[in-house]
Structures are given as C-alpha cells and as structure tokens.
C-alpha cells in the first residue's frame, strides 16, 4: 500500500522529488511518499504562502477561520468520512500504536478543536479576540491590533498521532501563513488536515503547506528558517539548539523541548474503596501512547499512611497495566527501545538486590514493568514504553523540594488529593516549575486552550501594533473639524 504525505499549494507532483518512507510492522509494509523540495522550491513556496497569507488570511475574520477549522475537525471526527477512515486504518500501522487506542485518542483529541473549544482557545489568550481582526481599545489607552506572522515555520517531531495540529491550528487562528515540516515517524495527519482545509476553503488552503526532509538535513532546514518570520520547533535539546542557532537573529524561535511528568497520590485517595480506581487511572496515563508524550507520567509519588500502602499501590498499578495489555497491547518495540526498557528494568532490579525495600514487578514478556522504592530517589525518567516507578513518601509536601533541581524539565503532574491539599500543592508545584496539574487519567489529554509548557499558544505568535493615545490626540489637530 502506498500513501502520499505533504501538501504543497502551487506545486504539481511532477515538479517535486519524492522519497519513500517504509513502515513495516505486523502485516504488509506501508509506503509513504514524502516530498523533498529543493532550496529554490522552498523559497518559492515560502513566497507564495507569505503572499497568500497577506492577501487572503489577514483580511479574513477570525470567526470565519475558526468556522473552517471546525468543519475540518467535524470531518475528521466523522467515522464514515474517507479521511477519518484513512486515519483509523493507517495511523496505527505507521506508529505501531494499538488501533483502538488511536481511534479513541483521535476522537478525544479532535474534540478539543470544535468551534466552542476554539473560541475558548482564543479567549484564553486574548481578552478580546476581535483584536486579531481590527484595532481595539487598550486598557492603558490608545488602540492595538495583533498580527500573526506572514510565515510561521513549524518543525514537528515524534509519532504521537495528530500532535502537529496544535501549532498548525494556533497558527491559522492568528492568521499566520504556515509551512510545517512533518516528522518521518508520523507524516500523515498534518498532511490530511491541510488537504481538508483546502477542500473546504480553497482560499485558506493556499495559506499553508506541509513539507518533509530527513531529520538532520541542515541545508533544507536552513532554507525554511531563512524565510520564516517566526519558528516553532519541537524536539530534544540538541535538535532545538541547532534550530535556534540557525534561525536568523531577527526571527523569533519558540522551542518546546522534551519534558518529564509524574503523578502524586495522597493518602486521602488510598482507602480500600478508592485505591483501585486511582491505580486504574494512573495506569491509563502510562498506557496512552506508551509514555511517548511530554505529559506522560514516568513515576508516582505515593504518600504513606493510607489504608493502602504505597507498595500495595504499586502492585495495583502493575495489575492494571497487565489488564490494559489485554485491551490495548503495547506497540512492538525496536531493539533500541527494548534495550532502553531492559536497561531501566535491570538497573531497578539491581537496586533491589542491595535494597530490600525496593522491588520490581515485570511482565514475563516485558510488556510492562513497575519499580517500587522507598529510597530518597529523585526525579528521573522511566524506561518509557509502559515502565513506571512508584516512590513512597512520608508526605506529598516533600515532593516539590525533591523535584526542584529539575525545573527545566517539568511539565504535568497528575494528582489524586483532597481539595485543600490540591490547592496547597498546586502553589508548591508551580513554584518549582510544574506548568500543568490535571486529574489522573487526564494527564495525556490536556483541555482545550491549555498553556503548553506554561506558555501562551496564540499570544506568543503575534506582534502587537499599538496606536498610542498621543497619536490619536495629535491627529485631532489635523482633522477637518478642528476648531
């Protein structure tokens, strides 16, 4: 089976060099053709996107853009739509994730981009979203209007299906022209989204493009960076450093690096009636996309003193992971990934030989693994792919001090605690750099309008043009009606 990724307005297929990415998991191999633009083609494409953005997108009302996105999303939510059918069929085959998990994940994720949610998204960042359409009075005096960049370059990474839609939709909402570079691990979803936009609103379709190059192809990356007005990049620190270093100094570069997230379970949640459900929720967060997301938990700090001990809770999680393996089996791992899991598991096992209060519970086939420790372990990532550590603590209040050295890497905390604890801990966690606190079971599905890594998804993309009060006042002197 052969598929095509990329979306290139103004270019014919024959104009472009194509490469083939092959995905072989269980069953027949799937091939995806991806476009490889020359330096000249990238520059020309950038020029067209900028022009289309200026001509068509900037005069368009935000509400019209949101309405188009809503229609696109409705199509992608409709299980009988050909695009949705493709997504359900091929995304699991390309990423290896369980098909049912992908299906449920897509629906949950896409729902956060319906019209009402898009409006929420806008309202989160702009007190008055009309400021994207026309000059609006500012509280300090004068008027202001927010402008999105003519060309926003996105450099995406990873295989979590659909993640590129976040920044792509953000870009459209602020009327940016967009060129997104998809990752080889999942090149399709952004391409389909772009095709659908063009199908529903051909004018808007001229304002975005989806391209590809092999990660590390500095030359092609530079071609796009040189043209962009603003860059949004995802990836590991090394990759991001390179992108930032090559972005012209006059171009802003927003980077989203890899993060570590974790869970916290209060003794209030550890009574015999509730602990199973909490463990089920924690396990769900581990299972979703096999901990590949920045919001996925690596470990759980569990408070002592409840009816269910932290060690028992670790067993509960292990049991739930075992059940999930039946329902949503883990994707097949590459030998490198399996090595990562094995190395983590072995390290934890070795610790358990010298520390009798440490244990490791693992599936015989290596499908999941839970380590338990009472040691003063600090934050560290797990082996990923359904491996997690439970660390028992005297009180959850001790946790912020233990994670504070890792401020730069923290993102989500999934929490099970009583209301007054939640409030107290929220402030302690915010102080040490945690940017998102959710319920367990929701760690991997941030709500619409969330502030990714604590930043403003839309506000960070715009520049303000302000007409100060002095200009208004001075203009009065030159009016026809001046006395």
């Amino acid at each position: 089976m052969s598929l095509k990724a990329g979306y290139l307005p103004g270019l014919q297929d024959d104009d472009v060099e194509w490469q083939t990415l092959s995905y072989e998991r269980d069953g027949p191999a799937i091939e995806v053709s991806v476009p490889l633009l020359s330096h000249r083609q990238m520059k020309a494409l950038s020029g067209r996107i900028k022009e289309a953005s200026q001509r068509h997108l900037k005069p368009m009302a935000v509400s019209d853009i949101a309405a188009t996105i809503d229609t696109v999303i409705a199509r992608l939510l409709d299980r009988s739509d050909p695009y949705r059918e493709q997504a359900e069929e091929y995304l699991p085959k390309i990423t290896g994730y369980d098909a049912e998990m992908v299906r449920l994940g897509l629906t949950g994720y896409l729902k956060t981009f319906r019209l009402s949610e898009l409006n929420r998204f806008l309202a989160e960042d702009f007190v008055n979203p009309k400021i994207l359409d026309e000059f609006q009075p500012l509280p300090k005096g004068g008027y202001g209007k927010a402008y999105g960049p003519d060309l926003l370059a996105h450099i995406w990474a990873g295989n979590v299906p659909g993640l590129p839609l976040w920044s792509l939709i953000s870009g459209l909402l602020v009327k940016a022209g967009n060129i997104g570079k998809v990752a080889s691990a999942e090149p399709l979803m952004a391409s389909w989204f772009a095709e659908l936009v063009a199908e529903i609103n051909p004018t808007l379709g001229q304002c975005l493009a989806v391209v590809w190059w092999k990660g590390g192809d500095i030359d092609r990356e530079q071609a796009l960076l040189n043209q962009a007005d603003l860059v949004v990049a995802y990836g590991n620190n090394d990759t991001l450093q390179q992108v930032r270093d090559r972005t012209p100094i006059t171009t802003r570069c927003l980077t989203y690096s890899h993060k570590v997230s974790f869970g916290m379970i209060s003794r209030a949640a550890l009574d015999t009636g509730k602990a199973w459900a909490v463990a089920h929720q924690a396990a769900y967060d581990i299972v979703r996309y096999d901990q590949q997301g920045c919001y996925s938990p690596h470990l759980f700090f569990v408070e002592k003193g409840g009816a269910v001990t932290p060690q028992e809770f670790a067993q509960y999680i292990a049991n739930e992971l075992n059940c999930f393996e039946e329902k949503f089996p883990r994707r097949a791992l590459s030998i490198e990934e399996a090595g990562g899991v094995a190395a983590w598991q072995q390290t934890e096992e070795m610790k358990s030989f010298s520390d009798e209060n440490s244990t490791v519970m693992s599936d015989a086939n290596g499908a999941w693994s839970v380590a338990y420790s009472e040691a003063e372990d600090n934050l560290a990532p797990s082996g990923l792919n359904r491996t997690a550590k439970v660390i028992s603590v005297e009180t959850l209040d001790d946790v912020p001090a233990r994670i504070s050295p890792y401020k730069a890497f923290l993102q989500t905390v999934g929490i099970a605690a009583a209301p007054e604890e939640l409030r107290r801990l929220a402030d302690l966690l915010g102080t040490v750099g945690v940017t998102r606190i959710s319920a367990l079971e929701h760690m991997t599905s941030p709500e619409a309008g969330w502030h990714h890594d604590g930043r403003f998804n839309l506000l960070d993309l715009v520049t303000m043009t302000e007409v100060e009060r002095s200009a208004e006042t001075a203009a009065e002197a030159f009016s026809d009606y001046v006395d």
Binding site: T95, A157, G158, N159, V160, L163, A185, Y234, G235, N236, N237, Y256, S257, H258, K259, V260, S261, Y289, Q291, Q292, G293, C294, S296, H298, L333, S334, I335, E336, E337, A338, G339, G340, V341, A342, A343, W344, Q345, Q346, T347, E349, M350, K351, F353, S354, A364, N365, G366, A380, P381, S382, G383, L384, P405, Y406, A408, F409
Partner: protein, 359 residues
C-alpha cells in the same frame, strides 16, 4: 569443584585444539554451579529468576547478568580482598560508578588471551615488532585493555617493540620515526591500540600531510570503537583511513571486541567489509536475545548479545551486554551499542535527561 580445580580444568580446556558441544556444556554447567554456590549476589539473582544448578541443563539457560550489574553488585566467588588483580570498567559510564571484576589469579585470563591472540592476530607470525598506542599496565593497573596489550607485547613482540604513549599522551614523533624505520627495513610491523588512539594519530598525520606504506604482512589491531568520544567515525571511513594512512589493507586491520566483564576476546578476520563477522575461541559462546525477555532470537534477527565465557570463572560467566548484534554463519555481526532509543514523542528518555541534568 574448588577454585584450583576449576583453574586447572580451564587451562586444559583452553589448551585443547577444539572441544565438543557436550564438553562445553558440561564445563559451563560446572562453572555455573561453582558460581551459584560461591557468588552470593549472583545466587540471589538466579533464584529471582527461578534458576538453579538443579534446573539449568544447558548453558543457554544460565542466567545472564546485565553488565551494569557489576556497578551495583560485587560479583566474585573469591574473597574480593584476596584478588590478584581487579579490572575496572571505564569511568565514563553515565553515573560515574565503575564496575569491578576480580581475578584471584590471572593464569586463566592470560592463557585465554595468549591462545586466541596467537590464532587470530599473529596467525602465521611467531612474533612481530609492535607499537602500542595505549597506556602501559603500570599507568593503568585496573585496565584490562592495558593488561591485554602488555601481554601482547611481552609474549609476541619482537625486539624493539614498544609503547608510544607517555605522560603527555601520544609520542607521535617517535612513532613516525618507528614507522619510517619499518618501511626502510621491510620488516612486517604491528600497530595495536584503542580505536580512538588511531584517530588521534591519523589526525596528526593529516595535519602533517603524512602517509606511510608499511611492509607487506604488517597488521593493525584496534579495539573499543568510538563510543563517548568527541568524534565518531563510520566504520568504513575508519578502515579506509587506516588503509590510506598506514598502507595496511583493510583485510589486515583486525578489530578486537572485548570488555572488562569478560576474560576472552572476540576477533574478526579483517575489515575488508564492515560490519565484519566476529567470533571467539572455543571456550566462549554467544547468543542473540531479545533484551526484554531474554529469549534467543532466530538467526538473522537483530538483538542483544549474551556471552557465556568459561574463562571468566570467578565472577559470572554469562553476561547480558548492551551490544546489538545479528547471528550469522561463523559468528555474529556487532552493530554497536543498543542505546536506549530516544522517545518517539516529546517525552524525555533517561540518557537525554542525564545529559541535560548534568549540564
């Protein structure tokens, strides 16, 4: 069996021209029983896997200790205090902890090294004039490689063989003079050292615009690869460079694959093509396994190497490495370290975290 009996049996085993599968299996099981009895942390490790000398009937089922186990556990049958020598893993591992391998006597280690080195590196030569691109044993008493190279020079180096490393590092002036001498005399020459030392030498040669063409029969032995070094070369590039700079055909450039956690080394028959097929002598056997389940993989599938080295009798004979490999006819292809892959999403992986956290 006592330690003395094991040593005696092993020396005979190594000295034998070849041995049968059954003989290997029988001795592997005897040594496993010895280690199970005398190496308490290993016994705990085996019991956790529900494996004991009673239940294990085949060397393939002997529990293999992950090499990083040496960092957390003291895996020695003899009293560690009484060891004649302790070899330590390099201190460059991610947490800085060095694993230790205790050797109550070096007799087996040395016999293993000498026998295999003669077969695989010396081949038709009884001795060769050698240059060593590594530190001496006196400078690095805990380095198994320093001991290995010292043995090579002592047992097989002809008069004039010497080290080209001193306190200040590589003594390139002396080395180049020696290489010139070899060219003049036409006497085959052997250059041995860490892979990365060769890179340094070749960088220096590049700077000086220097190449030599060593006499026919000359050979090169490199070991260690480039992991964790400031510069990583592709294998093909590396052997091309060796051939170009020293005039030693790639087929005479032999790579030794060894590790502190073993007492036996693997060799290839030259690197005319990469990756080359590696194999070891009759007292070591390898399996390719799935690192997560430990299950042996079918021939041709990529997995992680497990070695069962009878010569490593005092610690544990069976180790699970972090090296990826593929079984082929007559040995295995070594594919480098199976590093924990980076997450495919935006989650952070252990290696990346350690790197970032250490600044």
């Amino acid at each position: 069996m006592t330690e003395a009996q094991i040593i005696e049996t092993l020396l005979d085993f190594i000295a034998a021209d070849s041995t049968s599968d059954d003989q290997f299996n029988a001795l592997a099981l005897q040594i496993f029983a010895y280690q199970f009895e005398n190496n308490v942390p290993y016994q705990r490790f085996c019991r956790q896997r529900e494996k004991t000398p009673r239940t294990v009937q085949n060397w393939r089922s002997i529990p293999a200790v992950p090499i990083n186990g040496y960092k957390d556990l003291t895996l020695s049958c003899c009293d560690p205090e009484s060891a004649e020598r302790i070899f330590m893993t390099s201190g460059t591992t991610k947490d800085g902890v060095r694993g230790k391998c205790h050797h109550p006597s070096l007799s087996v280690y040395d016999a293993s090294m000498i026998t295999a080195f003669r077969q695989r590196f010396m081949q038709e030569h009884a001795s060769l004039r050698m240059g060593i691109l590594f530190s001496t044993e006196q400078t690095m008493p805990n380095s198994s490689l320093a001991h290995y190279l010292a043995l090579a020079l002592d047992k097989f180096g002809s008069d004039g063989s010497r080290y080209f490393f001193n306190d200040g590092g590589l003594d390139s002036e002396q080395l180049f003079a020696e290489l010139e001498r070899a060219v003049q005399t036409g006497e085959p020459y052997a250059l041995l050292g860490a892979s990365f030392s060769f890179v340094h030498v070749m960088d220096e040669m590049d700077r000086l615009g220097k190449t030599v063409s060593l006499p026919e029969g000359s050979r090169i032995l490199d070991t260690g690869g480039f992991k964790g070094q400031s510069r990583e070369l592709e294998l093909d590039e590396f052997y091309d460079l060796l051939e170009a700079r020293f005039g030693v055909p790639r087929g005479q450039c032999i790579n030794m694959y060894g590790m502190t956690e073993l007492s036996t080394e693997f060799y290839d028959w030259g690197n005319a093509t990469c990756p080359s097929v590696k194999s070891g002598p009759h007292w070591i056997r390898s399996q390719i396994v799935n690192p997560l389940t430990g299950e042996e993989l079918p021939k041709g599938e990529k997995g992680v190497l497990v070695h069962c080295d009878l010569a490593h009798f005092n610690c544990v004979s069976s180790i699970l490495t972090e090296d990826a490999g593929i079984e082929v006819d007559d040995g295995f292809l070594l594919l480098g370290r199976a590093e924990g892959a980076e997450a495919k999403g935006c989650s952070m992986a252990v290696d990346e975290f350690l790197k970032a956290a250490q600044g």
